[in-house]
Symmetry: C2
Subunit: 412 residues, 2 copies
Amino acid sequence: MKYQDDPFKGNFDSLEEFADRISDLLQCPITIEDANHRLIAYSAHDDYTDPARTATIISRRVPEKVINSLWKKGVIPALLSSQEPLRIETISEVGLGNRVAVSIWKNQEVIGFIWALETDRTLSKDDLELLKKAAKAAKNKVLQLYMRRNKREERVQEFFWKLLTGHITANEEIKENFDFLQIPTAPLFSVFVFRFANDITSDIEKQISYILQTTQQIQVLLYTVDRSDFILLAAPKSTRQPLAECNQFIASFATKMKERFHIANIQSSFGGIYETFEYIEKSYKEALTVLSMKEKFPAQTASIYGYQQLGIYQFFDLLLEKKRQGELTNSALAKLQAYDEKHHTNLIETFEVFFDHDSNVNETAKALNIHPNTLSYRLKRIAEIGEIDLHDMNQKVKLYIDIKLAKYEASH
Amino acid sequence: MKYQDDPFKGNFDSLEEFADRISDLLQCPITIEDANHRLIAYSAHDDYTDPARTATIISRRVPEKVINSLWKKGVIPALLSSQEPLRIETISEVGLGNRVAVSIWKNQEVIGFIWALETDRTLSKDDLELLKKAAKAAKNKVLQLYMRRNKREERVQEFFWKLLTGHITANEEIKENFDFLQIPTAPLFSVFVFRFANDITSDIEKQISYILQTTQQIQVLLYTVDRSDFILLAAPKSTRQPLAECNQFIASFATKMKERFHIANIQSSFGGIYETFEYIEKSYKEALTVLSMKEKFPAQTASIYGYQQLGIYQFFDLLLEKKRQGELTNSALAKLQAYDEKHHTNLIETFEVFFDHDSNVNETAKALNIHPNTLSYRLKRIAEIGEIDLHDMNQKVKLYIDIKLAKYEASH
DNA sequence: CTTCATTTTGTGGAAATCCACAAAACTAAT
DNA sequence: ATTAGTTTTGTGGATTTCCACAAAATGAAG
C-alpha cells in the first residue's frame, strides 16, 4: 500500500477534512469525538444504517445510553487504558453496529476517540494500524480545539463565579453574557453542589466533567470547583416535574461516580429551581444550606437533596438561634423527657418516628419493631403526659421541631 | 321590742362580735361576707345542718357551685340591685337551707352580704327590718377592712408589675416578697391576659375581680390592669394536667363574664406554665404573643388560648420576618397558586383544610363539603402539580406554613 | 353547539385502622 | 419474694380508609 509511510502528512484545514481522508482510506464511515464523547468531526457518508452514529451526529454528542452501554461492556475503560484499536461487536439494544475504535492520546491522557464503522467491509489488520496512525495524527488538531475551548473556559469560569457570588445582578447583563459566551439558556435552572471528601484534584474534576458532559438527564450550563465542592448550574429538561428530574440526576451522578471512578461519599444537593438568572446566587446559597443541614441532621435528611425537600429544616437555623436565646421551650417535651428518663421509656423516640412516618401506626410500629398496639398505647401515654392533642398538627409539628432542636443541641 | 331604736349602737371590737350580736337578736346563725363572697365573720353556733355554711366557714369563702347556683336563681342580682332583705328557699343540690340575705351598701355599691339561716325559726317581718339595720351598721366595719386591704393592694400591684416587667429577677427576692405580702405560692403558675374591647373601667375591674375571687377552678395569686388588658397570675390546682385546667378556666371565665355582666368579646390567653418565679415575665410575654397571633390568624387560633397550643405560630413572627427578606419561597406553593388562579380550583384551600384535619380524608371532605373521592383526587393533583410528597410530613408542614404566611402577607 | 380535558361523584371490595378487653411480661419498690 | 403499677402483646370485630374503575358533570376553546 502506497500510503503506508505517511498517509496523514498533509495539512488539513479542518478536522472534517481529516475525517473524510480516513474514511477514504479505510472505506468506512468515520466519527471523531472528544474525551467527553462530544462530536468533533465526522466523514460525509450516505449511511443511515447505524442508528447510534446518526443519533450522535444529530445531537452532536453520543447518546447517553450508548455511553452507558459501552461502559458496561468495558469498551471505554479498555480504550482509556490502551492506545490499541479495539473492535466492538454489535450492541443492538442501543443501535450500535460493528465498529472499531481507537483513543487519541496526549501524553498520558486520552483526549478523544476515532470510530470506524464496519458497515460495508471488515477492517484488516493493516487497516487497524492505519487507524492507530490516524489517532496519532489527530492529536494536534484535537489539542488545538481544546486550547481554544480552554481559553473560553477561563472567561466562563470567571463569569460563573460572579453569578454565584451575586456580583452581576441585572438580568439583562446576565443574559448578554450568556449569549456572548455561547452558553445555552433554559427556562428553569438550579445550582447543584457536590461535596467530596477531599479537595477536588484536576483528575477528579475531569472525571466529573466527563460524567456531566455525557449525561443527558439534565442540561449542564456552567460548572466550577471550589476546594472540595463541585458547583454546577444545570437545567432540568422538562418544566413539569423538574424536582424529580434533579433528584434522579443526583442519584445517577453518584452511581456513576462510584461505578466508573470508584469515588463514593459525595454529599450532593441542589438549591431552588428558578426561572430568572438573578436567582443563581440564591439557589447556590440554598444548595449550601442543604449541605449544612445534611451535616447537622444526617439521619433525617439522608434522602433529601433539593432545597424544596428540606422542608422545615429550611429555617432550623433560625429556630436554633431562637432556642439559644431561651425563647423556645416546650413543657410537653420537658415532661416527656422527664418521663423517659425516670421510667426508661422511649416516648420521645416513639413520637419522632411516628411523625416521620406520617402518623401511620403500622409503619411506625414496624420501624420501631414493636406491636402496633404497643405503639397506640404509647401514643395515648404521650398525649396524656405531654398534654398534647395528637390530632392537632400544630402541636405535633411544634413538638417534633422541638425534639429535633433539642437533639441537635444535645449533640453539639 | 326594746332594741328597736338602736340595737347596734355600741362599739364592737371585731366583726365577729358584731355577728354574734345579730345572731343573738335574731336567734339564728349569721354569716357576713364581703362583696366577693369571702368570709368576713360568722356567729359562733353549734349547727352543722347547713352544709353550705359549714363549707363556707371551713374554706373561708363561699363554694363556687353555691355562688353559681345563686346567680342562676337570680338571688345575687337581686341582692346587688336592692337594699331589702331577701328570702331564699332551700337549694338542696348545693346544700343550702332556707335563709335570708341582705346586702351591705356604701353609696351606690355593694360591699358585702349578711346571711341569716332559718334553721330553728323563720324570721318575722320585724326581724327582717332588724337585719336591714344590721347591714347598715356593718358598713363602716366592712369598709375599714377594705381600706386595709386596699393599702396592701397597692404594694402588691407595684410588686406584680415589677415581676411582669422583669425588674425583680432573683428567685430569692421574689419569694421573700411573696411571703412578706402574704401572697400564696404554688408549684405551677402561668400569666393570663384578658383583653377587652375597651379600656377596663373600675366597674368592670370589680366585676372581673369578683369572678376571680369566687372561682375555685384556679388559684389566683396576683392581678392587675393595663388599659384594656386584665393581667392575672394564677396557678392551676393540679400538677398533672395543668394545661387542661387553664383552658377550662378561660372558658368558664368568658362564660361568666357574658352571663353575669353581659361582657363578651374578650380575647383570652395564657403563657407558659412554669415552676419558678423568674419566668413570670416570660409567661407574660408569651401570653401577649398568643394574643398577637390570635389577632393575626384569627381563624386558625380561635380555639387556642395557651402558649403551648400555639404550636408553630410561636415562631411565625420569625418566619414572617424571614419571608419579608425574600428568603422563604416555595415553588410548590407558587405552582399551586398559579394553578388555582388559572383553573379556578381550590387546591391550596383543600390542602390547608386537609392539614388542619390531621390528614384525615373523611373529616376534611366533610369540612369542605365535597365527596371524599373528590378530595383524594385533588390531593393526587396537589402532589403532582406541586411535586410534593403528601406522606412526607416535612414537606407538608413547610407547605402549610408557607400558605399561612402567604395568606397573612396578602391580607396585610 | 360540539369537543375535549378536567373535575366531581358513585360503587364495591380488599386492606387497614381503631378500639375494647384481657393476658402476659416487666419493673421498681417494699 | 411479693406486690402493685406499668408496659407489651394478643384477639376479634366494627368501622374506616384506600383504590380502581366508571359514569356524570363541568367548563373552556374552537
